[in-house]
């Protein structure tokens, strides 16, 4: 098994005909992802990458039976795109777009609360269940099917961890990049809960960074509800306070959001906390007793 995305996932691409959408949809198809079609307003009725293009998401859902959507729409229109997907009944919405205004996401969040949809991202690499489906921009070849679940706020730092796991022969059940923005659809706790419930996931890697308290909340959840081994890392131990470190959500505000507090909360919860990202793979191997 895997979580959220598998071989039954039938995907739409919003922003299908743009440069990013075209390139990454092609990469996903090459991996074997079932792409049903795409949406670009005004280009409905045409064909792109041998798939149908629709004007609206609801029309695309009606005609293809798609159940997931990946969004490559520019930041000014991306929150709209999320809402349109939810309105059309899409169950899994993955928003790759970086740079969405925070108050647009506040509106999208309120809208999602009234719909039966799960959002991953925005500002994320997406989700991959190796060997089954890839919905996002991660390099496919570093992944390998297996039993480690990975959840992270970062893109390339996730690749770093996945690369180490694969090199050690440890495959992954599902890897989710939840995104570097302050307001995101799926948080660490959500992902960890799903990994705990997934029989095919035997260990969990949780990668966080400075800003907010999502890692502390996930640690509290893990302490009470998670029986599987969890290995963690927090980026930004040397980040200066008050500065936004690349990601919109990566900022120490006053006394909150510090790496040291997150690491301490994770240790208290029985998580193996790595001092450096170079040891994530090794620690997982140890915790699995391999």
């Amino acid at each position: 098994m895997s979580i959220l995305a598998n071989e039954k996932t039938r995907l739409l691409v919003q922003g299908f005909t743009g440069r990013e959408g075209t390139f990454h949809a092609g990469q996903c198809m090459a991996y074997g992802t079932d792409i049903a079609g795409g949406v670009t307003p005004g280009k409905g009725g045409t064909t792109h990458l041998e798939r149908p293009v629709f004007d609206t998401v609801s029309q695309a859902v009606r005609e293809t039976g798609a159940n997931a959507s990946v969004i490559f729409v520019p930041p000014a229109y991306a929150a709209e795109a999320i809402m349109e997907a939810a309105d059309a009944g899409i169950a899994l919405i993955v928003c790759i777009t970086e740079g969405i205004p925070a108050l647009d996401m506040v509106k999208a969040w309120a809208f999602l609360a009234q719909h039966n949809a799960r959002l991953i991202g925005p500002n994320c690499p997406g989700i991959i269940s190796p060997g089954k489906t890839k919905i996002g921009i991660m390099p496919a070849h570093i992944h390998k099917p297996g039993n480690v679940g990975v959840v992270s706020r970062s893109g390339t730092l996730t690749y770093e961890a996945v690369g180490q796991l694969t090199n050690l022969g440890l495959g992954q059940s599902t890897c989710i990049g939840i995104g570097g923005d302050p307001i995101i659809g799926t948080n660490h706790t959500d992902a960890v809960r799903l990994f705990q419930e997934d029989p095919e996931t035997h260990a969990i890697v949780m990668i966080g960074e400075i800003g907010g308290d999502a890692e502390e909340k996930a640690a509290a959840y893990i302490k009470d509800h998670v029986s599987k081994p969890v290995v963690g890392f927090i980026a930004g131990q040397t980040a200066p306070p008050g500065r936004r470190m690349g990601h919109a959500g990566a900022i120490i505000s006053g006394s909150s959001g510090k790496a040291s507090d997150k690491m301490e909360a994770m240790r208290q919860a029985g998580i193996t906390v790595c001092a450096t990202p170079a040891e994530i793979g090794e620690k997982v191997k140890q915790r699995l007793g391999l």
Partner: protein, 385 residues
Amino acid sequence: MKIHEYQAKAILAHYGVPVPKGKVAFSVEEAEAAAKELGGSVVVKAQIHAGGRGKGGGVKLARTADEAAGIARKMLGMTLVTPQTGPQGRVVKRLLVEETLPIDRELYLGVVLDRALGRCVLMASSEGGMDIEEVAAHSPEKILKEAIVPGLGLTGFQARKLAFGMGLPAAAVNGAVAAMTALMSAYEAMDASLAEINPFILTKDGRTVALDAKINLDDNALFRHKDLIELRDLNEEDPLEVEASMFNLNYIKLDGNIACMVNGAGLAMATMDIIKYAGGSPANFLDVGGGANAEQIRNAFRILLADLHVKAVLINIFGGILRCDTLAAGVVAAARELNVQTPVVIRMEGTNVDQGRQILAESGLNFTVAAGMKDAAEKVVRLAQ
């Protein structure tokens, strides 16, 4: 993006938040004229993008326009050091000259984005005039919060809960409610990421006024606020950071001597961390992004090396979309063009890594190639010594 107090107050006043009468001054003459116009008794406030100005001597009272001119003469051009500026301080180039008001009580108002709720939250406290972090640490019950329903805005009853909760006398509540409503409207209209009025005062004659104001804007929303972009003050930013921003490079200067160039924000932070762990000290944060091209890599190199403290450079790339061969070709071209003499350690992984390593090896340039992040950090720390 940060803006100055006088800019924040002008915006708040536009939306209907009462602020003291005041004028910005760029010279002693302007400060003196402003003080005269305001009746002589004024407060002179240094305008820098950092708090704690009073403690550093950046806020002074004057009884006459002459006195105000004297204060302005000392303050303009002075290096103001506050707990938030760091030891190097900031040079004062602008002043705000304001009328003085008879203060009865100092309160607090603030708007932030609550990540967990996914909503904006208006906070109010009876304990104004001090660091709100301290209030939160010692008496959290004195910070009142109301979450704002998107599309609905701040409702009257929420504002009244806060106003009465802060202990305002009934006669002042309507004024405070109007000020809070205006503050929330301003926050939403300009896509702020933080708005703080500290202190929000009750005057002896029963009015509520924003005596100070701090507003940060959401960088992601600036594309729809051309008027607000003009409020950016480049004097308040590090020159290298300003230059990097022109090339869409995410660069933050730090005080160490090992420069780093990384793709992705999380990996860039983790690279700084591992340099520290190996016994070194990072000179910067730099995320070149997922789609960096040769020109961006050249500019990134130039900016890194413009920092004279830099003794060695670590390039750490996990190639996904950015292929290792593209990166290696860019690095080789930049190193040749800029005649780089500083030791460079390169760690690459991911797409086309073998071709990338070959390009580096055949370049004839003195690069040190590392096998993983740990190896890279240890090597660069050794070279920086």
